[in-house]
């Protein structure tokens, strides 16, 4: 159906459409491909359908028309083994680290949650999933995830309120990468953060992308963050993709009038 001249997509929206009950379509005829190693940005303004598209790609909402494909297979919530594979391969990071972390759970338990719900680790060690050994293995993977996001392992014993906004977003990222997913779907992952923290989280995502071969899909209205992190950009306006391609050409020499207006509106620092 969609034969682009790129490696096979891990995750793809194939001509998806979606309408909330009684409303005009939020998305119409949208196709995007998440190709391994090619980070993707979905940009646009409020109401453009970015978050709806992300929800479809996360399998949280079913498209009204079209298909969402994971490794070429259509997502079907009834296919439990496919959904398990999907959940393991595709993990989310949300915008607000103040509301996305359960304040009553210790960080270690929060970060381990995907392992618990996926019944991991079962395959990573040579030993079988013995309960005792499993517990140690979980702690080990939680520790590794925390180290990967630049937090000390001791963070596992503390509660979210003991951390700053940037550290909380690191915890949310640790939770997302603990099951070693292939794709990270991040919804405005840095918009709630101060500019210096924002830069550090962008650097962290770039580092995870490079060291773990993680493919980052990011929804953002912040074109600077997109330009810093993503190689491919799709621009959404009123539920349709008006332009997509290499970030450098889409944002550097936009072809569509809406993209031009978007790029032209970004406030810039005075030149040196």
């Amino acid at each position: 159906m969609t034969p682009p001249a790129t490696p096979p997509a891990v995750l793809a929206a194939d001509r998806v459409g979606f309408a909330y009950r009684g409303a005009a379509p939020a998305l119409a005829d949208v196709s995007v491909s998440v190709v391994p190693g090619r980070s993707l940005a979905l940009v646009g303004e409020s109401g453009a359908g970015k978050t709806t598209l992300l929800r479809l790609l996360l399998g949280l909402t079913r498209p009204s028309t079209g298909r969402v494909l994971f490794d070429g297979r259509e997502l079907a919530t009834r296919d439990r083994s496919l959904m398990r594979e999907f959940r393991r391969g595709v993990q989310p990071v949300f915008q607000d680290p103040y509301s996305s972390l359960d304040p009553r759970q210790r960080v270690g338990r929060i970060v381990a949650e995907p392992l618990r719900s996926l019944g991991l680790p079962a395959s990573s060690g040579a030993a079988g999933p013995a309960p005792r050994g499993g517990k140690a293995a979980v702690a080990e993977r939680v520790g590794a995830a925390l180290r990967a996001v630049g937090l000390p392992e001791e963070a596992a014993g503390r509660y979210p309120h003991e951390f700053s906004g940037g550290q909380r977003q690191r915890i949310a990222i640790a939770r997302a990468i603990v099951c070693e997913p292939r794709v990270l779907l991040a919804d405005e992952p840095v918009s709630a953060l101060d500019v210096s923290t924002r830069v550090r989280i962008v650097d962290l995502l770039a580092e995870l992308r490079d060291t773990y071969g993680l493919t980052v899909v990011m929804v953002s209205h912040d074109l600077a963050v997109v330009a810093a992190l993503c190689r491919h950009t799709a621009v959404l306006e009123h539920g349709r993709i008006v332009e997509q391609g290499d970030t450098a050409s889409v944002l550097g020499s936009p072809a569509h009038s809406y993209t031009r207006r978007l790029v032209g509106s970004v406030p810039r620092l005075p030149r040196l």
């Binding site: 210096s196 600077a224 810093a228 450098a248 550097g252």
Partner: protein, 269 residues
């Protein structure tokens, strides 16, 4: 004598923690000053202290003096609510970040806007309706009659912020305080609202105190800035100088971060 003089301003929380420490700056009539800082830097508390709007329990020390022609020289700190009300609107007024919380959700936009116009200019009936229409037109709202009849939730975020600006201007203030006025808006809407603020401040000869976390936005609107960190003013000067050659280590890291993201947009296809 400046329009606004803030001298050694201190704001403390109910538990005694100092949230703003010894901040001083002045704004002359018709001048534009930016207050820049990250979350917790005390920039919004400084604005609230100037308006006498600090939350109950917070204590303020130091001087905030508004000197408006026709209103005389007034020390804001410790002023009774009644005297403050006479000052608010005419001497200084605020446009906040989130217009949805600044507007009454149960009142039509036209009626909300009519209130300051009625108070300030004593207008009634047809003259008041005409003034509401003119105020909405002034903030470049294309369909003033439709907007006047709408409730806040029925118009877009950008339109709401324009209404909030119209309400602020209705009192003909000498000083407009804009506290992150475009942070909640989309980038294209932000560009329009910034251009609008810029034009209105110039046309009316108002002074502007512009509060933001965004260095690029501040540098587009103001000439001078004060950089706040943890309640302390660490550096102040011309925007152009501070962006080019920041002196304080904090300002340096702030500028470097902003520069790093900004330069990502220098794309060559």
């Amino acid at each position: 004598m400046s329009l606004l003089e803030v001298t050694g301003l201190r704001v403390a929380a109910a538990d005694g923690r100092e949230l703003v420490r010894d901040v001083s700056f002045a704004v002359d009539a018709g001048e534009r000053l930016g207050l820049i800082g990250e979350s917790g830097s005390g920039k919004s508390l400084t604005a609230l202290a100037i308006m006498g709007l600090l939350p109950a329990g917070m204590t303020v020390a130091g001087g905030v003096v508004l000197d408006v022609p026709g209103l005389g020289r007034t020390e804001v700190a410790g002023l009774a609510e009644q005297r403050l009300n006479a000052l608010r609107g005419r001497a200084a007024t605020v446009v906040f970040q989130e217009p949805l919380t600044a507007l009454d959700p149960l009142m039509r936009v036209g009626r909300q806007l009519a209130e300051p116009l009625r108070r300030r200019r004593g207008l009634r009936g047809a003259a008041l309706r005409a003034a509401v229409r003119a105020a909405l037109t002034e903030v470049r709202l294309a369909e003033p009659d439709r907007i006047a009849k709408a409730f806040p939730h029925q118009i877009s975020g950008g339109q709401r912020q324009r209404v909030a600006i119209a309400m602020a201007l209705a009192c003909e203030p000498a000083l407009l305080i804009a506290d992150e006025p475009t942070t909640a808006l989309d980038v294209t809407v932000q560009a329009d609202v910034l251009a609008l603020l810029d034009a209105l401040v110039r046309e009316k000869g108002m002074a502007l105190l512009f509060i933001s976390h965004d260095l690029a936005v501040v540098s587009a609107v103001t000439d001078r800035v004060v950089v706040l960190k943890d309640g302390v003013a660490v550096e102040s000067g011309a925007v152009a100088d501070i962006v080019r050659a920041p002196a304080h280590p904090y300002t340096r890291s702030l500028v470097a971060s902003a520069r790093e993201l900004d330069s990502a947009l220098d794309l060559a296809p």
